[in-house]
């Protein structure tokens, strides 16, 4: 049984990795100036010099973008998985504990004040998200943290309050800043530069490792906190660590790319429908599957509009929702 599980994990990971590599390749090859798959291949395979301008476009504009998209997908899917496991609620997603509200208020405020995107806006977004997270935890402290409903409710209320603040801030902004803010609120991968992408990757790798180590406790938590405790899981410690690491990951990502919705909610569910509820398979599944999904969506967001790009959050919603409904119908 154990061997079967391991084999299955390897197979699934392999398939998703292949999908991810394919999508990343397409992502580097396609953009507003055309589809240059052949040039990408000749550039990679025999290192032959191609047009200087094309070289710049492919490796300095598209490549960091594709890496960023994959990282964002990984972070959001994994965080969604963790939140759904910890809160034992299928509607849980990375922003639910007030992170999105706080980050948005910070970011929109930064943009209204005319701050540079990095560090100004990103830093304010991070402060905001940590602030609201702290507020939510404070509101539910005194109660045992695993009283999931109070955490969730506090998060939802804080998000709603922040939404009102954001709408007000938007209503007093000039039209150029409005467009910038709207793109951020729907997910904007075009802001990040190479240094930020590298910084994000540096944050992601250790955090993913930590989450991966907690796959088995996450499985046990599904049976209820008392059952899990009786099976040897230190529920409070596990919850705190996972919550902290995931929130950190999500905050860091949101600061750089804004609010990309839907990925954190839908990808864990889709993978659960395809792979089953074992977190030891789901964690690598989410890492690779989330990355692949996000890379694909960003590719569409960049290439589908005749002029400019769509906010990537639109694409994730338009694809994710029907996909999820289809899989749901097929599984019942």
């Amino acid at each position: 049984m154990e061997r079967f599980r391991q084999a299955r994990t390897v197979l699934v990971s392999g398939a998703l990795l292949l999908l991810l590599a394919l999508l990343m390749l397409l992502g580097i090859a396609a953009g507003p100036t055309g589809f240059q798959l052949l040039e990408v291949f000749s550039s990679l395979v025999d290192g032959r010099e191609i047009d200087r301008v094309l070289q710049t476009i492919i490796w300095e504009i598209r490549f960091p973008r594709v890496v960023l998209a994959a990282s964002v997908g990984t972070v959001l899917s994994l965080a969604g998985l963790v939140f759904q496991a910890l809160l034992r609620n299928p509607l849980a997603e990375p922003y639910i504990l007030g992170i999105s509200g706080g980050a948005s208020v910070g970011a929109v405020l930064g943009m209204l004040l005319g701050l540079a995107f990095f560090p100004g806006v990103a830093f304010l977004a991070f402060l905001g998200s940590m602030g609201t997270l702290g507020l939510v935890i404070l509101l539910t402290s005194g109660r045992f943290l695993i009283r999931e409903n109070s955490l969730l409710l506090a998060g939802v209320m804080v998000n709603a309050f922040c939404s009102a603040i954001i709408v007000f801030l938007l209503s007093i902004s000039t039209h150029t800043k409005l467009q910038q803010a709207l793109f951020w609120l729907m997910g904007d991968l075009s802001n990040a530069q190479q240094t930020q992408v590298i910084g994000l990757l540096a944050l992601i790798f250790p955090c993913i490792l930590v989450i991966g180590l907690f796959s088995r406790p996450m499985n046990l938590l599904q049976m209820g906190s008392d059952t899990a405790a009786s099976l040897g899981v230190n529920v409070k410690a596990v919850t705190l660590i996972l919550l902290g690491v995931s929130s950190l990951l999500v905050s860091g990502t949101v600061c750089v790319v804004g609010l990309v919705g839907f990925v954190g909610l839908v990808i864990p569910h889709i993978l659960r429908l395809m792979l089953g509820p074992d977190h030891r398979i789901l964690v690598p599944g989410c890492i690779l599957g989330g990355a692949a999904f996000m890379t694909g969506c960003d590719l569409l967001a960049r290439t589908v509009p005749a002029q400019g790009e769509m906010p990537v959050g639109v694409v994730t919603a338009v694809i994710g929702a029907p996909l999820f409904v289809y899989l749901l119908m097929r599984s019942t």
Binding site: G31, P32, T33, S43, L44, G47, R52, V53, Q55, T56, I57, W59, E60, I61, R62, F63, A116, F117, T174, T176, Q179, Q180, S190, N191, Q193, Q307, G308, E309
Partner: protein, 306 residues
């Protein structure tokens, strides 16, 4: 694959550095930034319609490689490759045109794209044409940047002559008409003292009812009624005539306003009033004609009215 990519990126970086134009010079742009520009820029991507108009006014249209979506004047600019709108620039398209210089405007172009262009080795020269005087300074700066100083002096001289003609004509006005210049339809937005439209209104002999420290103040219908403009000018970026007519109809519900009662609601071509380019002088002339007409002072021709 990642290592290979970084290796290639390093090689490109070296290649780009070696490929720096042999003839280049350091100049200071209108924002005080030091920029290294080529001696004779040949492929210029212009990141705002106002700057495109300036370049064409200087007869440098042949050196323009790309413009933004709404660059529609002169008609020749419409057929040039587009790089997105000036608030939503497409980095890849700009780089794809292989420019040796980009001209940006402080008001509107996203700073992040400017930084990304510079990090890719493309010089970006920033300008800030804020009003008639600043437009003339911009034209002069462009003249020295592109080696067409004579053209620039000619354009500036013509602008100065036309401005002087207008200020001469409007001395015939018995008083300063109260003007409400509407740039936003819903909500109603007008222009404050620090805008170039305010400068145009004042120079044309009018009194801007929205003067004040706030650049784009909002008004309720009540507040406009209280200020009772003599002349209502509607300038909207929408090219939808039915929307403009609807706005006019909405004002006509209030004959208590002098402008409505006397039939002085005018719509103007937004391209002329929104862009800080030499065509602003045209805007000045249009306003002067409207003001003179409202006091029945004879004018040589009336234009810009719809």
């Amino acid at each position: 694959m990642v290592q290979r990519a970084f290796g290639l990126a390093f090689l490109i970086g070296v290649f780009l550095i070696l490929l720096q134009p042999v003839q280049a010079r350091m100049v200071t742009d209108q924002l005080g930034r030091e920029v290294q520009v080529p001696e004779h820029p040949k492929r210029i991507v212009v990141l705002a319609p106002s700057l495109a108009e300036c370049l064409f006014a200087l007869d440098q249209g042949d050196r323009v490689a790309g413009v933004t979506t709404f660059s529609n004047y002169p008609p020749r600019a419409r057929s040039l490759p587009k790089v997105g709108s000036y608030v939503n620039l497409d980095l890849e398209r700009i780089v794809g045109l292989d420019p040796d210089l980009c001209l940006a405007t402080k008001d509107g172009n996203p700073a992040k794209v400017i930084r990304q262009l510079e990090s890719l080795g493309i010089p970006v020269y920033a300008l800030d044409p804020r009003g008639l005087q600043a437009v003339m300074e911009t034209v002069v700066k462009l003249g020295s940047l592109l080696g067409c100083e004579d053209e620039a002096s000619r354009v500036v001289r013509r602008m100065e002559d036309e401005i002087e003609a207008v200020t001469g004509r409007v001395e015939a006005l018995p008083r300063r008409p109260r003007v409400f210049f509407q740039i936003g339809i819903s909500p109603i937005v007008s222009v404050g003292s620090n805008t170039f439209v305010h400068e145009l209104i004042t120079m044309a002999g009018g009194r801007n009812l929205a003067a004040g420290s706030k650049d784009y103040p909002r008004f309720s219908v009540e507040e406009v009624l209280a200020r009772n403009p003599d002349i209502l000018v509607i300038n909207s970026m929408t090219r939808d005539n039915s929307l403009l007519e609807e706005t006019r109809a909405r004002w006509q519900q209030y004959p208590e306003i002098d402008a409505v009662r006397e039939g002085r609601i005018y719509t103007v071509d937004s391209d002329i009033f929104n862009r800080a380019s030499p065509r602003l002088v045209r805007g000045l002339q249009i306003l002067a004609d409207l003001f003179l007409k409202s006091f029945d002072v004879p004018v040589s021709k009336v234009s810009g009215e719809r």
